[in-house]
């Protein structure tokens, strides 16, 4: 039994313009101690899916279908008392904007202690000592001074760390981090990611990382799920996702990562924009933006299928690599015509026909050991290929 199991989660919001189905039949699971990423563009439904786990969706939104099980217990069936215990003790969340999450009229230390006090973890001097040790644990310099600082006295990176320290204060088994590195400069990002990886190992805490930054995913995650217009389009271990993307949207996201030393004038991007969730496209939701779309993509919605078998992912089973594209159900005649090029720092270049056989070329092993790899996804489509041109890490 996985630590967290989400089955067929559906969340919608009622607006005057119509019903916004922000999360539509979303399923995944997280094992204890695992770092799991949910990746996608803004508006894909990543944050809504995360808030749903703690039942933090407010009107006019609601969870209309699905199950969320934490250690086998039905989270959606929790009473208010059980929910209060669950939030903080079992699962904690650090939101995107730390300055908004911290109360400006209390010191950082007081806010951490308050969380511990509310959950009967510690009180008095013990709580103070624990708060200082948590601040130290998340690499805040001079934690005793930070304990008495007000939020406005902290930098963005320090505030984010303080929020993570608050979330960790009750020793949760699952930590949900919603875009923890947004707005931080790359040096601080790297430090924060290192801290998170270290924390996950030390406390055996599972982390659900919500991000649109694939670099962050590559750095510290075990598995990732790519989300598009409220649906999961690909799930895979991180290495497979990077070296063998099986969905054209994933390939497009990877291609659009900027790379230092790239001589091109324009940054490659996935063409078009995400659909309005009030009225999503018929068939595959990605088909209006997909360079490989065929007639079938506009009339049939592809299910998430296991790459090895081409069969739909059964309930309660964790697939190694699954993708929701007609290519993997045998319905796409032209195939996915992009290729993954892996170039290591010694200039060795190897090519893999992505999405076809799932094999990763021989050059990968050497490149992995170096930890410095450039790999590229280059579609052959002459019209849209430029936009889906390359990926790099």
């Amino acid at each position: 039994m996985a630590l967290l199991e989400v089955d067929d989660l559906t969340v919608q919001f009622y607006t005057e313009d119509g019903v916004v189905r922000a999360v539509d039949g979303f399923s995944y699971e997280i094992e204890r101690g695992e770092t799991f990423a949910i990746v996608g563009e803004s508006g894909a439904g990543k944050s809504v899916a995360s808030l749903s786990l703690l039942r933090l969706i407010e009107r006019p939104g609601e969870i209309v279908d699905g199950e969320i099980r934490f250690r086998g217990r039905d989270v959606l069936g929790f009473s208010q008392d059980e929910l209060r215990q669950f939030r903080g003790n079992d699962a904690a969340i650090a939101f995107q904007n730390p300055e908004a999450m911290l109360d400006p009229v209390y010191t950082v230390g007081e806010q951490i202690v308050e969380t511990m006090r509310a959950h009967d973890i510690a009180t008095g001097e013990a709580a103070r000592d624990r708060a200082i040790s948590l601040l130290e644990r998340v690499d805040i310099a001079d934690p005793e001074s930070a304990y008495t600082d007000y939020p406005h006295e902290l930098s963005g990176g320090m505030a984010q760390r303080a929020v993570i320290a608050t979330a960790l204060s009750c020793d949760p088994d699952l930590l949900i981090l919603d875009e923890p590195t947004t707005g931080l400069d790359v040096t601080i990002q790297a430090q924060l990611l290192e801290t998170l990886t270290d924390l996950a190992e030390t406390f055996d805490t599972a982390i659900q990382l919500v991000t649109h930054d694939l670099g962050v995913v590559a750095d510290c995650c075990d598995r990732a799920l790519v989300m598009y217009a409220g649906r999961a389009v690909e799930r895979a271990p991180v290495e497979e996702l990077f070296y063998d993307p099986s969905h054209p949207y994933t390939a497009g996201l990877l291609a659009s990562i900027p790379r230092i030393g790239d001589g091109r004038d324009r940054l490659p991007a996935v063409p078009g924009s995400p659909p309005d969730l009030v009225q999503v496209p018929t068939g595959c939701r990605f088909h209006p933006r997909c360079p490989y779309a065929e007639d079938v993509c506009a009339t049939r919605d592809p299910k998430l299928v296991e790459l090895e078998t081409g069969n739909p992912v059964p309930d309660g089973r964790r697939p190694d690599h699954a993708s929701a594209c007609h290519e993997h159900t045998g319905n796409l005649e032209g195939g996915l015509d992009y290729e993954v090029r892996i170039v290591d720092d010694r200039g060795n270049d190897s090519t893999d026909s992505s999405g076809q056989d799932g094999a990763v070329s021989d050059g990968l092993d050497g490149a992995e050991s170096d930890g410095q790899t450039d790999d590229e996804t280059a579609p052959d489509d002459p019209e849209t290929g430029g936009d889906h041109g390359e990926r790099s890490r």
């Binding site: 919608q12 005057e16 009225q279 018929t282």
Partner: protein, 173 residues
């Protein structure tokens, strides 16, 4: 240290002790809720007649597989606010030949009443695009053939007389 919740400065809802109450936060108690005021004093028949509904398409004749862009407009003709009761939180719907949102598959919207509010003389305009396909199952859509199709829209109410409109388009090969 005196804590903010000990000061009684923040009222909390009794049902949801950890959710700050929104009662009184949204508008000052001194402000009149004109929506509620009008709803209490305007007769139901007048409320229904106050709102006009119109559906228009960008053209009358379309080629096969050409997207049909439709605009639905609701207009409060009265100089005071109007609030309409609806049967569902999806306060208005559109349909093609009677198929809601061009689909034979019902969308899971709870069956509970809601309201659709208009400020005085307010116009609300919504746009939809019909791809000339009908959803026939959870995962499949089917293109429609040439012919005449009725596109309609209206407030989500069983007794929506006067609160609906329709137009006909032609699809040619």
């Amino acid at each position: 240290m005196r804590r903010i919740y000990e000061s009684r400065a923040l009222e909390r809802s009794a049902d949801e002790p950890f959710v700050p109450s929104t009662n009184g936060d949204e508008r000052s108690p001194r402000t009149i809720d004109w929506d509620a005021f009008s709803h209490a004093f305007v007769p139901s028949a007048l409320r229904n007649r106050a709102i006009s509904v119109s559906v228009t398409t960008d053209r009358d004749v379309y080629a096969l597989e050409e997207p049909v862009r439709l605009t639905v407009e609701f207009h409060n003709r009265l100089p005071f606010p109007i609030r309409l009761r609806t049967d569902s939180p999806n306060v208005w719907t559109w349909s093609v030949d009677g198929f809601a949102a061009a689909s034979c598959v019902s969308r899971g919207v709870p069956d509970r009443p809601s309201t659709f509010s208009f400020a005085r003389n307010e116009r609300k305009r919504f746009r939809r695009t019909w791809s000339q396909r009908l959803r026939i199952s959870e995962t499949e859509w089917e293109g429609v053939g040439p012919g005449h199709y009725t596109v309609s829209a209206g407030v989500s109410r069983e007794d929506a007389r006067g609160l609906t409109d329709r137009t006909t388009i032609e699809i040619r090969e």
